[in-house]
């Protein structure tokens, strides 16, 4: 009695069709004969289905896709993920911001939020570029299994070949994070078909990630490009690589404009030849005629940024710490320190960065030090702490954490102030209304600018929404800070 025979009997009814015996003799023996065919049929079906269910064997299945590649980047943490999921529900306006902050932190999406992020990108095309910037290798792998997602999330190779603008850029950034060699090869393969605009943007924004001496051949190729914008981008990249020929060339030019005499570093950048020499090496000046002094200083900055920092110790015969105390002539000492900060940041030179911070008199260190963008910020923190510079060490931490806080709280603050200024009816807001929202300084500033708030029922909701965004941002900041 197979299933077809059973169904035939069941469809026609036992009144018209006899009940066949079971295919399993061992079970048939168990069926007590009865004159009631309906009961016989049901008993046989029950035995058969249970027997087959209990004796079911596993089915061999073949996976239609290999396992995801191992993740090479840090993934977003559970606190961030919770905020992300909540923002998708209630604060869609800040989802993009969340994604960009994660990208800035060089993090990729954790597996638990991949589906939510891919769905968000599918529903909202504006988010796609931001999602791609933080899409993990597993994210690409997952998207390739769903035709709806893979329409806009291509695999790295395909996305680079078929994508446009921001999507291509994000693919290249991802490659630079995960496999710089593949990134170089991918760019070289499509070199002849790349527009100058795309090429310069790719060099400028993607190749700066994980830049190393291995990139020198690509950069030198770009320095010979017919387009000025590409040469400019390549020259800027070269300033990160003190071993490059370009950096050495820049250093040779610099020698003509600075010298050490009587324990004083003297700069002489009054003639415009400095600009001509710098632009001849690929850098592009955006100054209008009539701004010679500023343009000359810009050229000097380019030279200082690109020249190996050893140049200064070799030139003066002084240690880094002695250089910090050296008198400077022809240029403001602060300007020179800012140039050194930038050179140390680009060249990832911890020794210079530490000395600059130790001798810094500004609080906070940002933006002069750009320590928030310094890859070895944690090492600086540890070194300063170990050498007894506790306060400076804590400044580093607060700079890393405060950059985002300041940026975002001020956005919210401006929103709020503009509403208050428009309505001019808010009053009665108390400090406690603001006290919970993260950044006390921004909040007290907000309060100072809005001395008479009138929280009428009508406007209370609007204010509440803004305060919610504030609270949300504070939570978000905390999530990222905790990760630090």
């Amino acid at each position: 009695m197979n299933n077809d025979e059973l169904v035939a009997v069941a469809l026609l009814g036992t009144a018209l069709k006899p009940v066949p015996a079971l295919d399993y003799p061992e079970l048939e023996e168990l069926v007590v004969s009865t004159k009631n065919p309906e009961e016989t049929l049901l008993t046989r079906v029950a035995l058969k289905s249970l027997y087959e269910k209990a004796g079911q064997k596993p089915v061999k299945v073949k996976a239609d896709i290999a396992a995801a590649p191992d993740e090479v980047q840090e993934t977003t943490n559970p606190a961030m993920n919770t905020v992300f999921l909540r923002s998708l529900e209630d604060h869609v306006d800040v989802v993009e911001e969340w994604l960009s902050v994660a990208a800035k932190k060089r993090m990729v999406l954790a597996p638990s939020i991949l589906v939510a992020a891919l769905e968000a990108g599918t529903k909202n095309h504006r988010l796609q570029s931001a999602v791609l910037k933080v899409l993990s290798l597993r994210g690409y792998w997952l998207a390739s299994q769903n035709p709806i997602w893979s329409k806009w999330v291509k695999g790295a190779d395909e996305a680079w070949k078929l994508g446009q603008g921001a999507a291509r850029l994000s693919v290249m950034k991802e490659l630079r994070h995960s496999d710089p060699e593949k990134a170089r090869q991918t760019l070289l393969d499509s070199w002849t078909t790349e527009s100058a605009a795309d090429l310069s943007k790719t060099l400028d924004e993607a190749f700066v990630i994980n830049i190393s001496d291995d990139d020198i051949p690509v950069i030198e190729k770009a320095l010979g490009h017919r387009a000025e914008s590409v040469r400019d981008a390549a020259a800027l990249l070269s300033s990160h690589l003190p071993a490059s020929k370009h950096s050495q060339d820049m250093m040779h030019i610099l020698k003509d404009y600075v010298h050490m005499a009587r324990n004083t570093l003297t700069f002489d950048i009054h003639d415009n030849t400095i600009v001509q020499k710098v632009t001849a090496l690929g850098l592009k000046s955006n100054f209008y005629p009539g701004h010679a002094a500023a343009e000359n200083q810009w050229a000097l900055e380019c030279l200082v940024h690109a020249s190996p920092l050893d140049f200064w110790t070799d030139l003066t015969g002084k240690s880094i710490s002695q250089l910090m105390k050296t008198t400077v002539k022809g240029l403001s000492k602060d300007d020179l320190r800012t140039m050194w900060y930038e050179a140390a940041r680009r060249q990832t030179n911890d020794a210079w960065m530490i000395e600059l911070i130790k001798t810094s008199t500004t609080k906070p260190l940002y933006p002069q030090s750009r320590v928030d963008e310094y890859p070895n910020a944690q090492a600086l923190y540890a070194a300063l702490k170990a050498s007894g510079h506790e306060k400076k060490a804590s400044l580093i931490l607060s700079d890393i954490k405060s950059v985002w806080s300041v940026e975002t709280t001020l956005v919210a603050w401006k929103d709020m102030v503009s509403i208050i200024r428009d309505k001019r009816t808010f009053s009665h807001a108390t400090n406690s209304d603001f006290a919970r929202y993260g950044n006390p300084e921004a909040l007290s500033s907000m309060k100072a600018h809005t001395p008479s708030l009138d929280l009428t029922n009508y406007y209370q909701n609007e204010l509440q929404k803004i305060l919610d965004v504030f609270a949300f941002r504070a939570t978000l900041l905390k999530a990222f800070s905790d990760n630090d």
Binding site: V7, A10, L11, L12, G13, T14, A15, L16, L30, V31, V32, N36, P37, E38, E39, L42, T43, V45, A46, L47, S49, L50, Y51, K53, A54, G55, Q56, K57, P58, V59, K60, V61, K62, A63, D64, I65, A66, A67, A68, P78, A79, T82, R86, E89, D90, P111, S112, L114, V115, R138, W141, L142, Q145, N146, R436, Y437, D468, F470, T475, K478
Partner: protein, 473 residues
Amino acid sequence: MHAGFVLAGVILTLIAAFYPGRALCKPYSKSMSWSAEQVLSLAPDDKSVKAGRSQASASKWSGTGQNDRALWGLCQGSGKKPYYTIVDLSEPAFKCSCPSRKFPCKHGLGLMLLWVDSPGNFPTKETDEWAADWITGRDNRSEKKEAKRADAIAGVVDPKAVAAAEKRAAKREDHVLAGIDHLQLWMKDLVRHGLTQAESRTNAEWDELARRLVDAQAPGLAQIIRDMSSLVGSGAGWHMLMLERIANLHTIVQSYKSREGFSEDIQEELKTLVGWNKSVEDVLRVGAVRDKWKVVGFTVEDEDNVRARRTWMRGSQTGNWALQIDYSVKNQAQASAPAVGHVIDADLHYYPSAFPMRAVFSKTHEKSQSFEDGLGDAFTVEQAYVQRATTLAQNPWITHLPVLVKAVPVRDDGSWWLQDASEDGLPIADSFDHVFELTALCGGKPHDIACQWTDQGLTPLAVLVGGKLETIA
């Protein structure tokens, strides 16, 4: 000998002989507090998850506080007065002055989420008066309940109550048997004249039969009829499916009528299938199993107007599985359920059954905590099938089974499976909507995946990633 008796009794022995069972156990280690996912697992539905998240903002709350026992706060809603919300952390249990009929409401979830997110917003202090009143009330009720339960556990019985219950049961049995006679006639008629007739039967006819069984005090059988009615014309192969369901129903009623010949456990199983409910006090008379029960996951199924939440747990020391079922009328208050990812050191009493699974807690020895030490040994797909066969040998009518399998979700020819290292596959139920979430968590590599297994296939509940239980929803 009666055919039904043979059917149930012999097949149990037969299958049991083929498939020996096995026990599982794994040592337990303690771990920390609540995560947002665990809080959200308490939500009665997806809408509540969304609404709860929206309330987890410090700006919405004032007068917040916490201590070892509870956390509380005032939430400004659309009205003049704020809602008073409190969470008793010992279970957890929720109370809110809002008019929502959901339980826990969005305020309770939001308050707890905020607490998880930013505990600094909750100063530690003595419980506020309004909150303390509720806690005291709970304690008082709990004491009475405990006393009643203690009597049950101690075997204290009221002879008068027992006599009255026996009288009621005898009367009910008469009704049930009459209902079964009617049902058997109906089934015989259906099979005699063929399933093509079933197609022509209106919904009203199925409903009428179900109502009649409810009147006969056999609600379990009525539910089976309602489920069967939805099969009519439900796609290719429905005839076979219907035939199997009728055959299964046939075995239930035949066996029920001759149940005296079975063991007490089988008798209890049959009574449950027909619709006799066991009171919690009766269940508590059965001996307790103390263990550290790990809450693995839950499913929510709507059955007409009733919502059934099935929470699966596994004992850390015994390796035994247990199932807590909470029924509620849809959109109305639901009893507190244990949080997924938590471990509860408690006494648990199984409902009498041919394969005990459903259970109720009596005494909690320690406050529940998160765990990160896994769920015990996971099966291969073949072992899972063997385990199911063993279970069926003890209870051929069982519909929901737990399984922990080491596997990876894969798609083969358009269908999703859990595939183990030997490339053996277990089918994932078509109704499972979160297969990509599971795939993302596994990344194409085998993980320990806890599932509920029904005839429709597997419903994955949670996956262990680095020792941490990730719920899939």
